[in-house]
Symmetry: C2
Subunit: 476 residues, 2 copies
């Protein structure tokens, strides 16, 4: 067991869903607990029902003939003080308040009620997750706030001030091969806050990588020192909401957060060697990069798979992202020459194989050669499935063979990143073969442990940020 009070809270042996129902949020929170193998006791609480989802429904918390470790509250805000009082009588460690409409409304009365709840909880020794949040997704313990989340656990944790964003991130990251240890949506954070969760995850053996979405922190000084400590143990990747004026206004009406000064924020992150990103997409890119690649401590990249202008732009975008697109090393050229590759003197990095005249060199062969050359720290291969619309029966293996890529998945001994573009198909394209092959290719990459990215810029930026993290870490 981990020596942190959150470890007990996150391993409840009994859960009550107060405000459970046969539809709406009261069902939405109960359903995953019913279906996802939660091993503890489960108590729906709602006086309107005798039974919900095949379980006896209790009229109140007090009627439950046992202790209740953890409570999910779906009742309206005015009922929460009584809920906290009842929870205290049941030995409850923590209450997750999905319940909202507190300080985030900007209304004084709602803010007063929130404060009252906090004081009551402190007084009675009940900890609070939220309010105004989706709570916990902990697949290994059978807890989820969305029925559709993956059931298998992984080693990435996500602390998110927004529940909706947590949901979108889990689903989008799942497509990229990411599975989660724990995801905590924590909303207004009146009691337990980002520092508590960070401290816990730093110790959590199930977590190797920590993602955060933060709108505002509760205590700046504690946050800075906590972040520094945690980021020295595990990579922490942070997306900040409310960076501009309008965003700061929006954080206030979303989670009642003070967005704070961006200068101080960025200085704190840099000092802590935390990795800041600008969007959910980049947050997931970093998760994928840390999940699938070994620590990267250099930035010299070898690029292949592109043709013509795409290859030129690949060079630009790698450099813009902070990587070094080195010229082909002399020894590399000599190897090409010795193999009888006619374009040995003309080929460059990025290696655009559309210029070759014969098949003495394949894309797979280039990856292999670059992987053997000590001048490269990492490799990026561009895999664009296009112009196959007239071959509806083409399989992925056909495609890979045709592009001399068959077996490329296992050929690199260096960190290898793949680029597989996303598309904006209309309905006329939704079932076309290029899209299907791209989907198959992504699944193949994930199962081979190769991270993929929709653009080369995003691949390069993720690799560059990872290298920065390890270079800074080693320098300390």
């Amino acid at each position: 067991m981990v020596d942190h009070f959150l470890d007990e809270i996150l391993h409840p042996r009994s859960i009550a869903v107060v405000g459970a129902s046969v539809s709406g949020p009261g069902w939405r929170f109960l359903l995953p607990l019913l279906r996802r193998g939660f091993q503890g006791k489960l108590y729906p609480v709602n006086p309107k029902y005798q039974e919900i989802g095949g379980l006896k429904s209790y009229a109140s918390l007090k009627e439950i003939p046992d202790t209740v470790d953890y409570i999910i509250s779906v009742v309206p805000a005015p009922q929460v003080p009584d809920l906290i009082r009842d929870a205290a009588t049941k030995g409850t460690r923590a209450v997750h308040l999905f319940t909202a409409r507190f300080s985030e409304t900007g209304r004084p009365q709602a803010a007063r009620l929130e404060q009252e709840i906090l004081e009551l909880a402190r007084q009675l020794g009940v900890r609070i997750i939220g309010p105004n949040c989706m709570g916990v997704y902990y697949p290994a313990w059978g807890i989820s706030f969305e029925e559709e989340f993956p059931k298998e656990p992984g080693n990435v944790a996500f602390i998110s001030q927004s529940g909706n964003l947590a949901g979108e991130t889990v689903m989008a990251a799942a497509l990229r091969g990411i599975r989660f240890s724990k995801v905590i949506s924590y909303g207004n954070a009146i009691d337990l806050n980002e520092c508590d969760y960070l401290e816990y995850l730093a110790q959590d053996p199930e977590t190797a990588i920590i993602l955060m979405y933060v709108e505002g922190v509760k205590g700046g000084r504690r946050f800075v020192s906590t972040l520094r400590q945690v980021a020295s143990v595990k990579p922490v990747i942070i997306l900040k909401g409310g960076r501009g004026e309008a965003g700061a206004r929006a954080t206030s009406s979303h989670t009642a957060s003070l967005a704070g000064s961006m200068e101080i924020w960025e200085a704190a992150l840099e000092q802590a060697n935390a990795i800041e990103v600008d969007s959910v997409e980049e947050l997931i890119d970093m998760a994928v990069t840390f999940r699938f690649l070994p620590p990267l401590k250099g930035k010299r990249v070898g690029v292949t798979g592109g043709a013509g202008g795409a290859s030129v732009l690949a060079a630009d975008q790698c450099e813009m992202a902070g990587l070094e697109v080195i010229p082909l090393p002399q020894g590399f050229r000599e190897q090409l020459k010795n193999r009888g590759v006619s374009v040995w003197d003309w080929l460059s990095n990025p290696a655009d194989l559309s210029i070759r005249e014969d098949d003495r060199l394949t894309v797979k062969g280039i990856i292999e050669l670059m992987s053997q050359d000590p001048h490269f720290d990492l490799l990026i291969v561009m895999l664009h499935v296009h112009r196959h619309g007239d071959q509806p029966d083409m399989t992925l293996d056909d495609f890979l063979k045709q592009h001399q890529l068959d077996g490329f998945e296992t050929v690199s001994t260096k960190p290898l990143l793949a680029v597989v573009p996303e598309r904006s198909f209309g309905i006329e394209g939704w079932d076309n073969v290029e899209w299907k092959l791209s989907c198959e290719l992504r699944s193949r990459l994930v199962s081979n442990g190769i991270p993929f990215y929709p653009t080369i810029y995003r691949a390069a930026l993720a690799a560059s940020r990872m290298a920065d993290y390890y270079i800074r870490k080693d320098g300390r």
Copy 2:
């Protein structure tokens, strides 16, 4: 007719494909001319065949019993001087040299041959498109270098130094509702160059918007003055390849271009009020924006459709992109209050409707209200189809109704941009309902003339760049 020599070149009444064949590039260039309604005479030239694609094949250009306006050359480089000589005897105005392996190889002999060809062509009065390029896609005249390109014409022109990039751009832009007037892939540009094409397109009544992909320009001074003149007439959006060191090396081995100094380049573009972009994706975003929106001269944006953190981040990303996310105007709030909207005081911009308690306000209603408010210059609506995986039979109309969006397409009198995310599905997701609905939604948007973008940042950046263009233009 347009008073520019390129107008005649681009309206050939006869075309010879020299090096035509029954497969490979010699077939690839002939096929679209056969199938896409080219109205002129078509002459395959190859002594190895009697007939190609149902047409008589000529042993040489000279055997063709008529003038030949335009030639597509697919023969190897050493045969090109003779080809030019023969062309001159046939009254040919221009030769498109798909033929490559000239100066881009970096080999002195190949560069000498290229120079010899140029001198010969000048001497004999034959103009050259290329070499090392895909040539012309002019759907209204039945000319294309890819069989799969859309047959319908549009009002966007694209001058691209890379043929591959031109192909990718045409296909990706087509998904976003863009059709083209003329696309010219011009490669090494030894004779006709970017300035000739620009001058022509400025006059071309079929072209309203000009896209460019440039690796290097042939004469800096002429380019700057041409660009200034052309960009004052029509929006010119430019993607520069070879902006970094490695990219500059890559331009040299791709089109033998000198990438040039980025400082001078950027100053020239700013002076000309041309719009610079960083990627093919952004190039297409700008095409879509100019194609579908009226001139935008203000940057005050109203945003809706997002929930929670996505809404907060939408505000940040709009500001990062240069838009002004103004607070909800007082009159706007009063209207909400008068309608009995309970969250009238709490709602902000972005308008996150996930906080509302009742249905007095719909997303469609917010778009309508914002559209009527003079404080907004443009609107962005986020349309994320997700969490419908368990409703495989859901239709787009069901979805729009469920999200209170039915009829939103026609409700705005202000420029409206939509955000429809792209996805990285694996094979398990390739035919799922969320993807299908997203595809249907995109088609619906295009048919209603509403531009869509995969992220809010890209939507906001495109709108902001368009406003900058018109604001600068008006200031001159």
